[in-house]
């Protein structure tokens, strides 16, 4: 079928059609895009995030990386300084422009964690970005941790390398299955160079009593676009404990769709967005309580300088059966300039009656008294601001239990902050 005139996804559909062979998932994605195109601001879920920076690009789907691209990717990998955090020897899966890069990866012990190539298949994850991912789906990694096993740490590194005209786009589709009673601590880092679009989807299935910690560091190149989706399903007594830190990209949106389908399951969707200049970052989550006595927690902090803009949309759905639900959601913004902006949309949809749900949002500037106190002790104003920003983020980052992982994020925050301060 030809691209529809006036459809803002026409370019992507043309790329899809040109690829010929296609899976059912890919056809489902394409059908969704053909029907409505990519969402415009008049679509409720996209009220605050404008996709025109994406639709205005001349896009292509990234080829398997050349030697030159791999060399650039290797440079990016070194730049992450994994050794500094004692992570150089930890199992890692590296993807370059959406393609697996075995030469840069370190495979985990297969007894703890099996890794296979995952063709793009299964049902379409919710959201327009997942539809786009499916349309041009490249497949990805399928991870499985056997029952009762603690698989320890795994790094998932997605490196984008944009070169030449237009934007290469990557659409990896990864899957994680944790069998009953198993554990995994996943640290996902997205970084890159040049102009590119990273559009990953991660499907998470946690069986009874399985625990996944998923910490994301989004530190994409300044010109890049980052549009990611996570779909997580948590069975009885399991937990999906996530933290997403947005530092990079010109336009970013991270969507989380998490469902607690068994009693006593727990979901955390925490995060921080540290933005400057013209950056726009959006954290959108839909957390569904589908079983009794489940627990969802959300603390999101935003630090906004320049003319940056952050969006937080947090929907919590409590189905009728989900009695004894405990839900907490907090979104806070520190506005460091008059032109920075935060848009917050909390949504509670509660159909059960025995439920504890609280949510709150605050936005404000740095406290002048605190700033003066630090300066009166000789701390230069730039350093004083950095201290207060770090303090503001501290209780969010503090939600990451693992010290090593938290250290990676703290260092990334410091580096990003130093970069900004020296630009001033």
């Amino acid at each position: 079928m030809n691209a529809i005139d006036g459809n803002n996804a026409a370019q992507f559909l043309a790329l899809h059609d040109r690829r010929g062979s296609s899976s059912a998932l890919s056809e489902a994605g394409a059908a969704a895009l053909r029907h409505g195109g990519l969402p415009r601001r008049d679509v409720e879920a996209w009220k605050y995030t404008d996709l025109r920076p994406l639709t205005a690009l001349a896009v292509s789907v990234a080829e398997a990386p050349s030697e030159a691209v791999l060399a650039t990717a290797n440079g990016l990998l070194q730049g992450l300084q994994l050794d500094m955090h004692g992570l150089a020897g930890v199992a890692r899966l590296v993807f370059v422009n959406g393609h697996a890069a075995p030469s840069l990866s370190l495979l985990p012990d297969a007894a703890l964690l099996s890794v296979q190539d995952a063709p793009a298949e299964g049902s379409l994850a919710p959201g327009a970005m997942a539809a786009l991912n499916a349309t041009l789906g490249q497949g990805g990694a399928a991870l499985r941790v056997p029952g009762g096993v603690d698989a320890g740490r795994l790094l998932l590194l997605t490196l984008g390398v944009g070169e030449g005209d237009g934007a290469v786009t990557a659409h990896p589709h990864h899957r994680i299955l944790l069998e009953p009673g198993s554990r995994l601590s996943l640290l996902e880092i997205a970084a890159g160079h040049g102009l590119y679009v990273n559009n990953p989807v991660l499907e998470v299935e946690l069986r009874n009593g399985a625990h996944l910690t998923h910490v994301r560091l989004q530190d994409e190149a300044v010109e890049a676009l980052h549009l990611s989706t996570v779909r997580a399903e948590v069975a009885e007594g399991g937990s999906y404990d996530s933290f997403s830190l947005a530092l990079g990209a010109r336009l970013a949106r991270h969507e989380v769709h998490a469902t607690m389908s068994g009693r006593g399951a727990e979901v955390q969707v925490n995060g921080a967005q540290l933005l400057d200049g013209q950056q726009h970052a959006d954290l959108t989550s839909v957390i569904v309580h589908k079983a009794p006595a489940c627990n969802s927690r959300q603390t999101v902090k935003n630090v906004l300088s320049g003319r940056s803009r952050a969006v937080f949309q947090g929907k919590i759905v409590v189905e009728r059966i989900a009695q004894k639900t405990d839900g907490y959601q907090m979104n806070q913004a520190l506005l460091l300039s008059n032109e920075a902006e935060i848009d917050t949309k909390p949504e509670l949809e509660i159909y059960a009656d025995d439920v504890k749900c609280s949510h709150g949002a605050t936005a404000g500037a740095l406290d002048d008294d605190q700033l003066f106190y630090l300066r009166s002790r000789g701390v230069p104003v730039v350093e004083a601001r950095a201290i207060l920003v770090r303090a503001f983020l501290a209780d969010a980052l503090g939600l990451i239990d693992d010290e090593v992982t938290r250290g990676v994020l703290e260092r990334a925050v410091d580096a990003s902050w130093d970069r900004r301060s020296s630009d001033e």
Binding site: D369, Q370, Y373, R375, S376, R377, V379, E383, F392
Partner: protein, 256 residues
């Protein structure tokens, strides 16, 4: 190096809900090196305002007068520059910094000031050793170093933490704004000892207080009375005792 503080006809105002409110209305004061001066005066007379203006808080606008700190024009300096030059203010109401570890805060401050003064910075180990020693001397439990700055500190603990900062920063000129209020009797003596330990030919202090008691421990060279934004009377230590006995009414009536 001797640093004299010379305040000349200082006027300052604050923006109070859109209207100008003059607070300092011509303060004249000279504190020579090596001397300790006390300022007393009724609530709301402008004592804290003076201390904030001297340390560079932005809320106040200086509308007239000059302040020289040694050779330097104090009012032209940023707050951090004043600290580096050796000025220290112990706040009447110390500020809480949630999420900022007290030991890190103290080390950052000490090193910022050392850097500005061209001295080598202290590493974490050297600093902790120094901080522990000062804590011990001031009767402050080490545990206070591990907490967030002033968060959940009792009134007296906050004041002790101010004195700890002063001891670590080794200023040449300290302003203590009611550091004695809220302190128990033992703490009062410890704070006084903290100040007395710094007394030297090149150290001076301005002590704002409502109570004669502190001045029994830290005997001032001069006592000034501030009322309605001006110094209305200066004298020796006996002036403090006279005020304790008689109150401010007579003095204020005389000055009017």
């Amino acid at each position: 190096m001797s640093t004299v503080l010379t305040i000349n006809a200082l006027h300052a105002k604050i923006d109070d809900a859109g209207t100008d409110k003059p607070i300092l209305k011509g303060v004249d004061l000279v504190v020579p090196p090596g001397e300790v001066h006390a300022i007393m005066g009724p609530n709301g007379s402008g004592k804290s305002t003076l201390s904030y203006v001297l340390s560079g808080r932005a809320d106040y606008e200086v509308t007239g007068g000059t302040v020289a700190f040694g050779e330097q024009d104090l009012l032209a300096m940023e707050p951090e520059e004043r600290a580096a030059a050796g000025l220290f203010l112990a706040f009447q109401a110390p500020i809480e910094l949630p999420g900022v570890n007290n030991a890190n805060f103290l080390r950052t401050a000490v090193n910022a000031v050392r850097r500005a003064r061209g001295e080598p910075e202290l590493d974490a180990v050297a600093f902790l050793k120094l901080a522990r020693a000062e804590c011990k001397r001031l009767g402050i439990p080490d545990a206070m170093l591990k907490r967030a700055v002033n968060v959940g500190f009792s009134g007296g603990e906050k004041k002790r933490n101010e004195v700890l900062q002063m001891s670590l920063l080794r200023p040449r000129f300290a302003i203590l704004d009611e550091t004695d209020s809220g302190l128990d009797i033992d703490a009062l003596r410890i704070v006084a000892e903290g100040v007395n330990a710094l007394r030297a030919p090149d150290f001076s202090a301005l002590i704002i207080t409502h109570h004669q008691r502190l001045l029994d421990y830290i005997v001032p060279d001069h006592v000034h009375v501030m009322s309605a934004g001006r110094i209305i009377r200066s004298g020796g230590p006996e002036l403090a005792r006279q005020l304790e006995a008689e109150g401010y009414a007579n003095l204020i009536a005389e000055a009017a």
